[in-house]
């Protein structure tokens, strides 16, 4: 593979989990109150591109949240369901990637009139993402695929070495997905991307982490794996449609909906 040839050698470890318990919340002893990934052993190396696979609820988001916490400001972050502000323009949403670099008055003024340098930079980024000319449009009026690209644009605009994405290419077609992953690769040496497309995981990434029911069952170089190996992560895949109770989990959480309590 051509991407294989220009890959730099795998660097030192960035994050290392040694039989650690991951989950949500903290109880009084500092352990996770709600255990999701018990006894996780895993290392992320610099320069590695990792595809994170697993069913919904397998613990992908928990692992990514923990990685994000440990990597802090070194990692760019592209959350699941985008986490965009629908009322603000594309430009402002992308700009938020570098919000901490601006003083509060500058950030306020930028809402009234875009600052010159960010406006130019975001414009260039939007052109790359196929969003040219949409900078002033509120995100709420974009299509699903366009929103996805705005969310990726915001992560790219952060300009970090490491990219962490929770299903960043879930709502675009396969062709677009390849293009977007290419953009992410061009700007980040290291990435961890949660995915649902198994083929993409094998063709585009160096390494695959596979989670199933809170256990890391695959941690291997992508070239050593086959699609059949990955099928083991999805036990319900060969059951007839309707027998699976899973689809309900796919619904975005209440928090992700624009109106948390369904109020008018």
């Amino acid at each position: 593979m051509e991407s294989e040839q220009r890959r730099p050698p795998i660097g030192p470890a960035l994050v290392r989990f040694a039989a650690e318990d991951l989950g949500h919340g903290r109880d009084r002893q500092g352990r996770p109150a709600q255990l999701v990934l018990p006894g996780l052993t895993l290392t992320l190396h610099e320069g590695e591109r990792v595809a994170l696979l697993g069913q919904s609820g397998a613990g992908k988001s928990t692992l990514l949240a923990e990685l994000r916490e440990r990597l802090g400001a070194r990692a760019a972050w592209c959350p699941q369901h985008h986490g965009l502000v629908p009322q603000l323009a594309v430009y402002h949403n992308v700009f938020m990637g570098r919000l901490p670099e601006h003083s509060a008055p500058a950030a306020l003024w930028n809402l009234v009139r875009p600052l010159a340098r960010p406006w130019r930079e975001v414009g260039e980024l939007c052109a790359l993402l196929g969003l040219a000319g949409l900078e002033r449009r509120p995100v709420g009026r974009l299509s699903g695929g366009q929103r996805q690209r705005v969310a990726i644009g915001r992560a790219l605009y952060q300009g970090r070495d490491i990219f962490l994405g929770d299903e960043p290419v879930a709502s675009v077609d396969p062709h677009q997905a390849l293009r977007l992953l290419g953009l992410i690769d061009a700007r980040h040496a290291t990435s961890v991307v949660a995915l649902h497309q198994r083929e993409l995981a094998l063709s585009h990434f160096d390494r695959v982490w596979g989670l199933r029911n809170g256990r890391l069952v695959i941690d291997a170089p992508a070239r050593e794996l086959t699609l059949a190996d990955l099928d083991a992560l999805y036990p319900d895949a060969d059951e007839p449609a309707g027998a699976s109770a899973e689809p309900a989990v796919e619904m975005p959480g209440v928090e992700a909906l624009p109106c948390a309590r369904g109020r008018p």
């Binding site: 400001a73 985008h82 009322q87 938020m96 990637g97 901490p100 950030a107 109020r263």
Partner: protein
């Protein structure tokens, strides 16, 4: 209703023991009504006027043939009413927003806001009247101060319910202000604006009412005309008031607000000449009992004993609050089908809508005032006013929610639709809303005393009239405490399941 039970339930007194939400709500309601019935004999519901029907006829005639020509300077009264409402609301927002940002974090701020909210606009007006006289400042402060407390609470709730995802997506190290204006404010903006607009509507009604304590808004002219029996002139003023409320969507457009603000600033006045020493004396000495300032505890006890009729006043206030709440429940249940698309024909629906709009846009105090002229000073006019106004408001919301429902079973008769399709879906939300309103009803109950009904407001106004500021202020504190207690109580008893009508604009 009991399909979840494994054992087949026996026929009979099932409604008494069953544990389905419907039965629980039914028992809840019956208990409330029974409590009101048991306490009813303690209420003074006598009719003191000789000829209420004749009086009603004269009023209706006045409303039917308004004397437009006899109005003196109606435009300036309307202008002042609107100016006070818009500037009062703006001042409330300016004071309330910083409080809203602190609301979740500070118990002190929450308690302070509860106190500001618990005292009615008119009581604040009475208080400020003593130091700033009949001035624009009194009117603005009377609106701005309780509204600051209300805005703080509601805005804090709205902000708390904005989706968290955009906030979580921000890169680490983002400043508090930047986070607020980029990832919180835009998400909440539409709701904040809608609530502010609703509050402005309330401010408009309150601004009219400020006329009842002497500020020259529309209410002043209304009260004078009614009291002096000039019903044709009063009818004209009442029509003017309804026109003002009905035309609100037309003239309160976003783009017109700066014009209203600037125009209103010209109309506001007169401005008081503030004597700092006088204000300080009022705040530090006049409103506190002399015995308290001197540290004379025995004297304080006897001061407390001298306060007239404290227990009956509190009892009447609570009783009227309860009766008003139960009355509102009954009125709402009776009226909502009139305005709902599932029942009647175009004509009845139009009439129903008209009735509900008139009842809910007339402030309780004004309704009570009219009934008082008809029936004389007892709890009866106040009860009628509270039940009709709040009942109509709840009925309006119920009808709106019912219109959004599609019956699952077509072709049912009207009673069948009512009993099987609509009421089971609407009632839980309605009862929850009623419990929210209970606090508002109690606030209003206290203020109705100013008309001569023997609730706390009567003694507060008397205290101010006789310059017994310490007594008046103490009674104000009692009122506020009572309100906060009832709010907590109604929060405790409010049915939990199904807050479908939980709209901040309804509280």
């Amino acid at each position: 209703m009991s399909d979840s039970l494994t054992e087949r339930p026996r026929h009979g007194r099932h409604w008494w023991r069953g544990d389905t939400p419907g039965l629980r709500l039914a028992r809840h309601t019956l208990a409330l009504v029974a409590l009101a019935l048991v306490l009813l004999p303690f209420a003074d519901l006598a009719i003191h006027t000789r000829d209420p029907w004749g009086e009603l006829q004269r009023m209706a005639l006045g409303l039917a043939w308004p004397a437009w020509g006899s109005l003196e300077s109606p435009l300036s009264a309307i202008g002042l009413t609107v100016a006070v409402a818009i500037w009062g609301t703006l001042a409330g927002v300016v004071l309330g927003v910083p409080l809203a940002l602190l609301f979740a974090r500070s118990r002190l701020v929450r308690a302070g806001c509860a106190f500001l909210r618990a005292i009615h606009e008119l009581f604040w007006a009475l208080l400020f009247l003593q130091v700033f006289g009949l001035s624009a400042f009194t009117a603005l402060a009377a609106l701005a101060i309780p509204y600051a407390g209300i805005f703080a609470k509601v805005f804090a709730e709205i902000l708390e319910q904005t989706p968290r995802a955009p906030r979580d997506a921000l890169p680490p190290g983002t400043g508090r202000l930047a986070r607020f204006v980029y990832a919180e404010l835009p998400l909440a903006w539409a709701q904040l604006a809608a609530y502010t607009r609703y509050r402005f509507e309330c401010a408009l009604r309150a601004s009219v009412l400020l006329g009842f304590v002497g500020l020259p808004t529309l209410g002043f002219h209304l009260e004078t005309a009614f009291r002096e029996g000039r019903y044709h002139e009063a009818g004209a003023l009442l029509w003017l008031f309804y026109l003002l409320i009905a035309s609100l969507p037309g003239w309160s457009h976003r783009r017109l607000i700066p014009v209203l603000l600037i125009g209103g600033a010209w109309l506001l006045g007169p401005w008081p000449s503030v004597d700092g020493a006088l204000v300080w004396r009022f705040v530090s000495e006049d409103i506190w009992p002399r015995e308290l300032l001197a540290g004379d505890w025995a004297g304080l006890t006897s001061w407390l004993m001298r306060i007239p009729d404290l227990a009956p006043a509190i009892g009447n206030t609570l009783l009227l609050g309860l009766l008003g709440t139960v009355g509102a429940l009954l009125v709402a249940m009776a009226l909502w089908p009139l305005a709902c698309r599932h029942f009647g024909n175009r004509g009845t629906r139009l009439a129903g809508h008209g009735l509900l709009i008139v009842l809910r846009s007339t402030p309780e105090l004004m309704l009570a005032f009219l009934f008082l002229l008809l029936l004389g000073p007892s709890l009866l006019p106040a009860w009628l006013a509270l039940a009709l106004h709040n009942g109509a408001l709840i009925a309006f919301l119920m009808a709106r929610h019912a219109d959004a429902l599609t019956p699952g079973m077509p072709g049912l008769s009207a009673p069948g639709r009512l009993a099987y399709e609509l009421v089971p879906r609407l009632y839980p939300g309605m009862l929850a809303l009623l419990y929210y309103r209970a606090e508002v009803i109690l606030r209003e109950t206290a203020i109705l005393g100013m008309l001569g009904v023997a609730t706390l407001g009567f003694y507060i106004e008397e205290g101010f009239d006789y310059l017994m500021f310490d007594v008046a202020f103490f009674l104000l504190l009692v009122t506020a405490t009572l309100n906060i207690a009832v709010d907590a109580l109604s929060r405790r008893f409010r049915p939990r399941d199904g807050a479908v009508m939980d709209d901040p604009c309804a509280r």
